[in-house]
């Protein structure tokens, strides 16, 4: 058997090991590549940058731990940027797993990096409510009817930053972090298009192609997968270098990503060559 045919029939477990090494080695070696922002990501950054202090940003965490490596940096970078710009941050979730991710966000970013920001004044965690797109439909008209308390059980009327919130139209920007249904698509359909509210989002790479058609008319901007959030982080750190240590999670993960992609591309090329060589030999014999 020709060597290229042997490569073509390689045990899949060998490929798994090679992919694992392609991820582990760059991670240990801290391989980092430069990241440059694309227009679709820059649009979100520019919008947050242009909002005056005190503006209201709604951050909806519509994902769970299974996609946290992609989604959590998105929630972190938006929170970081919003609080650095003295915007008011409202955190909520359409997924029951969202509050758990919100707690990580609060501990790792809000408390750790912004100890001066006060809960209920600068940021609030409204928690999860059932209803999927029905919830968006409802809070588009009446927010306090649905959110009677925050996630800690504090009455909504006792929270200072909820005073001038009646419904979704009172927000200056809605940012959905999603990995499926309900998620950014539902925010576009049920809040953005209906209420004429600026919607932007960050989604897993699997979901990103489904949302590109909404850009730029229905969706202000989009972070697609780890690459999207890495672009945002790089832009943020460039302007606010104090986040260099804590704010480059996705940028650091793009090294292993690039190496693993290169290995996969090589496997695809080798596999195709092996296929054509084998086909040619079969025809000849």
């Amino acid at each position: 058997m020709h060597w290229i045919e042997r490569v073509g029939r390689l045990d899949r477990r060998v490929i798994f090991v090679v992919i694992a090494l392609a991820v582990v080695i760059p991670l240990v070696a801290e391989l980092i590549f430069p990241v440059y922002p694309s227009e679709i990501v820059e649009n979100i950054y520019d919008r947050i940058e242009s909002l005056p202090p005190g503006s209201k940003v709604l951050l909806s965490l519509d994902y769970g731990p299974s996609t946290a490596p992609e989604n959590q940096p998105m929630a972190s970078v938006i929170s970081r940027h919003a609080l650095e710009r003295d915007l008011r941050l409202y955190v909520m979730a359409l997924w029951p797993t969202g509050p758990g991710q919100a707690n990580i966000l609060i501990e790792d970013v809000l408390h750790a990096e912004f100890p001066d920001k006060v809960e209920g004044v600068d940021w609030v965690h409204l928690g999860y409510k059932a209803g999927n797109q029905g919830l968006i439909n409802t809070i588009l008209l009446d927010m306090k009817g649905m959110y009677t308390t925050d996630s800690e059980g504090t009455a909504i009327d006792e929270i200072e930053m909820m005073d001038d919130i009646r419904n979704l139209q009172d927000f200056d920007l809605i940012f959905g972090v999603g990995s499926g249904f309900p998620g950014v698509k539902e925010w576009v359909q049920f809040a953005g298009d209906r209420g004429d509210i600026p919607i932007s989002g960050g989604v897993t790479a699997v979901e990103a192609p489904l949302l590109y058609p909404y850009y730029p008319k229905q969706l202000l901007g989009l972070m697609g997968g780890l690459q999207g959030v890495a672009e945002y982080e790089a832009t943020l750190v460039r302007q606010y270098p104090r986040f260099k240590e804590t704010g480059e999670t996705a940028v650091r993960l793009m090294g292993p990503q690039a190496v693993a992609h290169t290995v996969i591309i090589l496997f695809v090329i080798i596999g195709n060559i092996a296929y054509f060589v084998e086909r040619r030999r079969t025809k000849q014999s």
């Binding site: 991670l27 240990v28 490596p69 029905g134 009677t148 359909q189 298009d193 996969i264």
Partner: protein, 225 residues
């Protein structure tokens, strides 16, 4: 190297390795982790639903004094008996568990489906049909300051041809002969490129998740990073 001393990190690490063991072959450890995940997820969703929605949004409105200790912020107001309606419909859903009166659950299902179908139909029509058609209607030749903008013109041309030829490929009322043949061929090419790009994104997502797990195992658990 500093091994984690937190029990939850060790549990997470072992469960991750159990799931990864499927890459070798299907086995008991993989099945155990999979079943554990399904069970824990179901319980988690139920508990979160009760504490975040049923207590503050239903019980606290019907019997505020009952939840004074559980949801202090939601209690204290007057009972709102209008919320008996969702309570009744919610209970009707549970009649599925009682064979003799299980048909009553259909009333609640009818309400849910009717509401969802009604709202979804309008939203999908506006966002995914009308707005998408409107977004596709763009000038093919983009001229700015009296000069043809090559990049934008090319993008708009690709958009127009992609949509037009893609639609022709799905036009089955006439055999794809004559002018329809090259258009439908281009349509299938456009579709294949789209699927390829979509698959590329899927690969990127999976590698991101793998990187996240490796980071957890090597960093949080083994302390190597």
């Amino acid at each position: 190297m500093e091994l984690s001393t937190q029990i939850e990190v060790w549990i997470g690490a072992f469960l991750t390795l159990m799931i990864f063991s499927f890459l070798w072959k299907d086995n008991f450890f993989y099945k155990f982790a999979e079943h554990l995940f399904v069970g824990v997820s179901a319980a988690y969703w139920m508990v979160v639903g009760i504490w975040s929605t049923i207590f503050p949004n239903l019980i606290a409105r019907l019997w505020p004094s009952l939840v004074r200790d559980v949801v202090p912020g939601a209690a204290g107001g007057e009972p709102q008996y209008i919320f008996l309606i969702p309570l009744v419909f919610g209970l009707l859903l549970l009649t599925r568990l009682l064979p003799k009166i299980h048909y009553l659950s259909r009333w609640a299902m009818a309400l849910v489906i009717g509401y969802a179908a009604g709202t979804n139909l309008i939203r999908y029509l506006q966002s995914d049909l009308m707005s998408q058609i409107s977004s596709t209607i763009v000038p093919i030749a983009v001229v700015s300051d009296g000069r043809l903008q090559i990049g934008e013109t090319f993008s708009h041309l690709v958009l127009f041809l992609g949509v037009f030829c893609g639609l022709i490929y799905f036009f089955f009322s006439r055999e794809h002969k004559g002018v329809l043949k090259p258009a439908s061929r281009l349509g299938i090419w456009i579709l294949m490129i789209t699927f390829g790009a979509s698959f590329g994104y899927t690969v990127m997502a999976r590698i991101s998740l793998l990187t996240g797990r490796v980071q957890y195992l090597m960093g949080d658990w083994l302390g190597l990073l």
